[in-house]
Structure formats: structure tokens, C-alpha cells
Subunit: 211 residues, 2 copies
């Protein structure tokens, strides 16, 4: 965390998956695991697991392996889910509601402070207690409530515009579900979830299997 060497995005991409498997091991009461055992479960090489983890420090013990709970917590810290983040959802359609209703995010420290939409018939309504606000209030709300993350579940044209608005309002990161790139300044983090691209990769795999 403190030192300067840049961690490759390939490593970061794998961390949440380690975290998930370790969480499952905890639930099954497993207290220690070797890179070899974990590699068999996860279908990656043991070497890769050790290399990945050693980017962040030595979490294991020679001759023993890794303490599951300890490693789980350490990866949690690396991923920044030991602290909470205020979040809002922009777009009260099915996708926005799906995210809002998924309670596990809250357990990981992502606190949904509000949902925004520009359909006034929704004004005053709420989703499991979370208030729906009008889009016009968005920028003020972000500043007042210290919102760090905005999930954009709106069409692409609107997403481009609102992306600029929330970047100006000072959010740290945008979770972008719109089928477009946002092209914002580099200090705004953008994590894209492009479902249509995912579906096309699936389609490619169907078209080209066992060729």
C-alpha cells in the first residue's frame, strides 16, 4: 500500500476472486490453506497465487501455508473494503433497483445514500427505505452527503452528461453501466460494466468453439 511499485491490473483483477474463495473457506470452517490447495480449488497455478500475494507483503508462513482468516482480512484491506464508501445510484430502472436491492454491497461497506431519477412520478418513493430523489438535486446531494461513488444505470447519452456533472461535483469514482465510454479527467476513476460486450464475448465463444 505505502510503497510505490505499481501493481499490474492483472493482479488487481484476481484479488476479489481470492477474497471470495477465502470467504467461502471461512464459512466452511477451514483455518489454514496452502497455495497448492488453493490453486487446485481455483484452477490457477500455486506460483501465481504466491506471486500475486507477495506484491503486497508476506502473508504466509513457510511450512504452514496461509491463515485463511488473516489473509481474507488483509486482502479486504488491500481492496479498501475495510472502510465504508458513500454511494448513490443514478437511474431507478430495473438495473438501478437490482443494485440497490443487493444487500451484500452494504455489508462490504458500500452505503447507498440515495437513488436518482428524472421521472417525477417516482419522487418521494423509496427502495427498501432508500429515498428516490430528482436528478436536479444530484450535485448538491453529492457534496452534502460526501458521496464518493456514483453508479450510472441510465442510457448512454444521459450517462455522458451526468458523468461530467458528478465528476465536477467531486466524486472519486463512477461505476458505469452505460454502453459508452465516459471520457472524464484522469483523476476520476471509471469502472465499466459493459453487459453488451460481455454478451458478445459469449457469442464469440459459441461461434468459435472447438474450431
Amino acid at each position: 500500500m505505502e510503497d510505490n511499485k505499481k501493481i499490474s491490473s492483472a493482479v488487481i483483477r484476481r484479488l476479489p476472486r481470492y477474497y471470495r474463495y477465502l470467504g467461502e473457506l471461512i464459512e466452511s470452517g477451514v483455518q489454514r490453506i496452502s497455495s497448492k490447495e488453493l490453486s487446485a480449488k481455483m484452477k490457477v497455478t500455486a506460483s501465481q497465487i504466491r506471486q500475486d500475494l507477495n506484491n503486497f507483503g508476506g502473508f504466509g508462513q513457510q511450512g504452514y501455508g496461509y491463515n485463511v482468516k488473516y489473509l481474507y482480512d488483509e486482502i479486504g484491506k488491500i481492496l479498501g473494503i475495510d472502510t465504508s464508501h458513500n454511494m448513490v445510484i443514478v437511474g431507478a430502472g430495473n438495473l438501478g433497483r437490482a443494485i440497490c436491492n443487493y444487500q451484500d454491497f452494504e455489508k462490504r461497506g458500500f452505503i447507498i445514500k440515495g437513488v436518482f431519477d428524472n421521472n417525477d412520478t417516482l419522487a418521494g418513493e423509496n427502495i427498501r427505505g432508500i429515498q428516490i430523489h430528482m436528478m436536479s438535486e444530484l450535485a448538491d446531494f453529492i457534496k452534502k452527503e460526501n458521496v464518493e461513488i456514483v453508479a450510472l444505470t441510465i442510457p448512454k447519452q444521459a450517462a455522458k452528461e451526468i458523468g461530467k456533472v458528478v465528476a465536477d461535483a467531486g466524486v472519486k469514482a463512477i461505476w458505469n453501466f452505460a454502453h459508452t465510454d465516459l471520457n472524464l479527467p484522469d483523476d476520476v476513476i471509471v469502472e465499466n460494466v459493459h453487459l453488451s460486450e460481455s454478451l458478445m464475448r459469449l457469442s464469440y465463444a459459441i461461434a468459435n468453439r472447438e474450431s
Copy 2:
């Protein structure tokens, strides 16, 4: 397509993005583009664009560049979206409904033949004309309707079970939104959309920016 050299998944991951940009260029009436111009728009190197495309054939012309419409169509063929695929959605929650309502998928040839759930109060209902069926009918429906793709928008435990069921029923691919790996035979394609992992990567980026 026909020849045997394996295309790397890094290349496949980029194809849908090329496709999206080319689609936008068509909409703006652009007829030709060079790898250099496209690279500026997409923020990748021109060299990478040419390398990627030449995995599949020479689509350009020296001194001219690429014909936008032609390249768009060719990438569409590579991605297999020139033919249609029957699909069902398992899970009629917000996420399942979001996918069902997203009409662009149908335009790309992904035809949603039905939605399945085990909540009997939904029996007989429909989502924009697409019938909701009970889970017990799923395997038969897949065989009868030649379903190739199943989107799983159900909790992880159920997803593991239904994954096996639909694999046995002969689907070619599963679009898995559950927060788990499915561990199915290799001949079943699994494309994962792990939203919680995406959110953790975003969280990591917040925790580690400008360090």
C-alpha cells in the same frame, strides 16, 4: 474463423469495443477511418488495432485505411452476431428484468424466448410480452425451443444447481451473474459477470490512487 491459430482472449476482449466505436462512426456518417485516427479516438495504439484485426484477415487497404461499414460487419461476423441465438433468463428479479427489457440485445440477434422463476405468483405473467414460466419447465423448454444461452440472475446456491441442469439440457453457454463459479464441463461456455468483483476493483482504485 476457419484456420486453427488460437486467438488470445486479450484480443477478443477488445473486439466488442471496436465494434461499438465503428457503430458510432457509421451513425455519424463516417465512411473510412485509418488505424491512426481510430487509435486517437479509442486511446489504444494504432499498432494494436492493426495487429488485432489481422488475426482475422486483412480488412483494410494500404494508403486508404478501413471502410467503416465493411469492418463493422466483418467484426460482427467474427463475434457471431450475424446469426441469432435463442436465450432464456433464469430469475425474474430486477436484474433479470433489466436484461429482458434491454431491447438492444434483440437487435444483435439474442432472442429472449422466456423468463423462468420459482415464485408461483409470477406464473402466467409476462415482461413486455415474454412469458414467465416456472423453473420446473426449464429443461424441457430448453430442448423444445433450441435455447443456446441461459442468463442466470439468481442467488449463487441456486445458480450452481441450475447451471448443472441447463448444462445437462444441452445449452451451449451460460451468462452467469451469480457471485460464484459454476464448475461445469469444458464444453459449456461460461461468461461471468461478477458485479461485486467489479465494485471491489473500483474500491481498490479509490484506496490506491496517486500513491
